[in-house]
Amino acid sequence: MKKIIEIKNLRKDFHVGEVTVHALRGVSFEIEEGEFVAIMGSSGSGKSTMLNIIGCLDKPTAGEYLLDEINMSNMTKNELALLRNRKLGFVFQSYNLLPRTTALENVELPLLYNNTIKAKERRQLAINALESVGLADRMHHMPNQLSGGQQQRVAIARSLVNDPVVILADEATGNLDTRTSYEIMALFQELNQKGKTIVFVTHEPDIARFTSSSIIFKDGHIIHQAKSIDKLEARQILMELPVENGYE
């Protein structure tokens, strides 16, 4: 299997005035193509910091990071931006959709920063992405006309639209209720089955049960890393959940 992400002895320090915070204190791991990895750990353990570095939003203080076999060490800001545009997709806890902008236009957004894609193709790709998250009928709705779960689906469609090598999600279910969280996890599992590599930060063990492996952080170290043996199917769990308010 091809290695999508290779992290070697990575460190990240933050300097706040006189104090230096060691957010990552030498972590090493690999993620292979097609994996669905949960990054777990308590608050302040360095999960988001790790994800930001994987997402090329931040640079490590020391250590090596290879994304899709490209070394990130000597990349300029603009080169990192280009990589984010072509190889990465982000899903955030708070969706970060543009207000007063239709779902379709929100999904199109990453492609606007890609000159090689013409308007017609852009539209088609966005429609395809929305269809794959099951929101074909909500294309022209504004974010405030959508539920939280639907907004997060739009955000997932946006992260998919550029066909990234890896999707990065930071607490993507953090704002959602249990059922909707499971629905989102079901969607991620579906995408993963189609071959997408996904890195999913969460502090809820409950949610991590749906991933294929997990990395657990504590105080900037990896304390545990394992493949799941009892991976759950979110679809199935959803069916078993008690039906509320005549749901489905």
């Binding site: 930001n52 997402g55 939003l57 931040d58 800001k77 603009n78 931006a81 280009l82 984010r84 545009n85 072509r86 982000f90 955030f92 970060n96 543009l98 207000p99 007063r100 902008t101 236009e105 957004l109 990453p110 606007l112 920063y113 890609n114 000159n115 308007a119 946006r158 550029n162």
Partner: protein, 406 residues
């Protein structure tokens, strides 16, 4: 990022907040509209002054006794007696560029008819005066050379005098009025000329042979002014120097001594008044320009607010691949769009307001293409200039901080 994507993104961003976009543009709209209107009014008044002055006879020359007077305006009835009929004869015989010539003597006084009277002025001239001043006769006739010779008590009168002493729509030809108790017979009525640019009523006059005014009213032998016209407009400067040379010689003025007369040509007057209205235009333009500047500051202000408010949007755009330059260009495009759209609306509004003012006030207004083009360029520059700092602030944000911004 290519331009069409850039403009698409900027338009989408502005569309999300239409009311604010409009309010932001308002400063520019008002600024540009006032620039256009002010300049149109300024230019219009300049043109109308030029038109009116040249309707008085664009190749007219005017000689007054005494040295240089202010701004080409004769300073009162000069008591200097330096001008004589011989001067006129000398100019007539020696000059090649002077066409028509008329002596002018003038007296103000009371005109009386029956039990009505009114203050007015009587102008004593010869027959050339009508041509020089572009005055035409409505009814009756001009006085003749014979009447000039005999200092006949005949006159032509202007509309205001008729209204004052005879009433509206009366043709007083053939009647006899008295001017300062001298009885004078009306032989003609002058066409209406209206107000001059300088606010004088050009119809409040009585025109009589200069000999009549000299002998019977003023009891003088000199003349007060000479009016002349150059044979053609472009000969006007030459005619002026000819008159000066002839009069200096006639008045025996030594080399280096000052003239005891002043010659003014109409085109000098035009220049003087044009420069006054140019100054006016510049002043109006500056005031309007300041409001444009304030409009620009308004854009900058709102762009700063907008950058702060949309910090998360900026973070998101960066996370999906927007480079610093893309973010900079987006906000710059937004501010340019705001100022240019505002500018276009302002230009249309300004043209509308200018023609509205023109119609309502019956002022002449001229919208110059230059002022339209200039306003448009200024708007673009304002957009770039005042958009630059907010846009740079946006572009320099750190994506992680921006995404985390509450």
């Amino acid at each position: 990022m290519n331009y069409s994507n850039l403009i698409k993104i900027a338009i989408n961003a502005l569309r999300r907040n239409k009311l604010r976009a409009f309010l932001t543009m308002l400063g520019i709209i008002i600024g540009v509209a006032s620039v256009i209107t002010m300049l149109a009014i300024g230019q219009g008044s300049k043109k109308s002054i030029q038109d009116q002055v040249s309707s008085m006879g664009s190749n007219m020359l005017f000689v007054m006794p005494g040295g240089q007077a202010m701004g080409g305006v004769q300073m009162g009835n000069s008591d200097s007696k330096s001008l004589t009929l011989e001067d006129i004869e000398a100019i007539r015989s020696q000059s090649t560029s002077v066409g028509k010539l008329s002596p002018v003597v003038r007296s103000s006084g009371q005109v009386i008819y029956g039990n009505k009277n009114a203050p007015t002025s009587i102008f004593g001239t010869n027959t050339d005066y009508l041509d020089i001043r572009k005055i035409t006769i409505k009814s009756g006739r001009m006085f003749t050379e014979a009447e000039i010779k005999s200092a006949a008590k005949v006159c032509l009168i202007g509309k205001t005098v008729i209204t004052n002493v005879f009433g509206e729509n009366v043709d007083p030809t053939g009647l006899e009025i008295r001017f300062n108790s001298i009885p004078i017979k009306i032989i003609g009525v002058l066409d209406e000329k209206g107000q001059s640019t300088f606010g004088q009523d050009q119809d409040d006059l009585i025109l009589a042979p200069f000999t009549t005014v000299q002998k019977r009213i003023l009891a003088i032998t000199n003349i007060q002014n000479i009016y002349a016209s150059a044979v053609s407009e472009d000969k006007s400067p030459l005619a002026k120097t000819e008159i000066e040379t002839i009069l200096r010689e006639k008045h025996k003025i030594k080399e280096g001594a000052d003239d005891d007369f002043t010659v003014r040509s109409q085109d000098e007057l035009i220049k003087t008044f044009s420069s006054i209205s140019d100054i006016l235009t510049v002043l109006l333009g500056i005031i309007a320009g300041i409001s444009l500047l304030i409009g620009g500051i308004g854009i900058m202000n709102i762009m700063y607010v907008s950058v702060t408010e949309r910090t998360r949007e900026i973070g998101l755009r960066m996370s999906i691949g927007g480079r610093g330059i893309d973010i900079l260009m987006q906000f710059l495009t937004e501010s340019i769009l705001l100022s240019v759209i505002g500018g276009i609306i302002g230009i249309l509004l300004g043209i509308g307001a200018a023609s509205g003012v023109g119609k309502m006030m019956t002022w002449p207004v001229i919208v110059m293409p230059q002022s339209v083009i200039l306003s448009f360029l200024v708007c673009t520059v304002i957009g770039v200039f005042f958009g630059w700092y907010p846009a740079r602030k946006a572009a320099n944000l750190d994506p992680i901080d921006a995404l985390r911004y509450e």
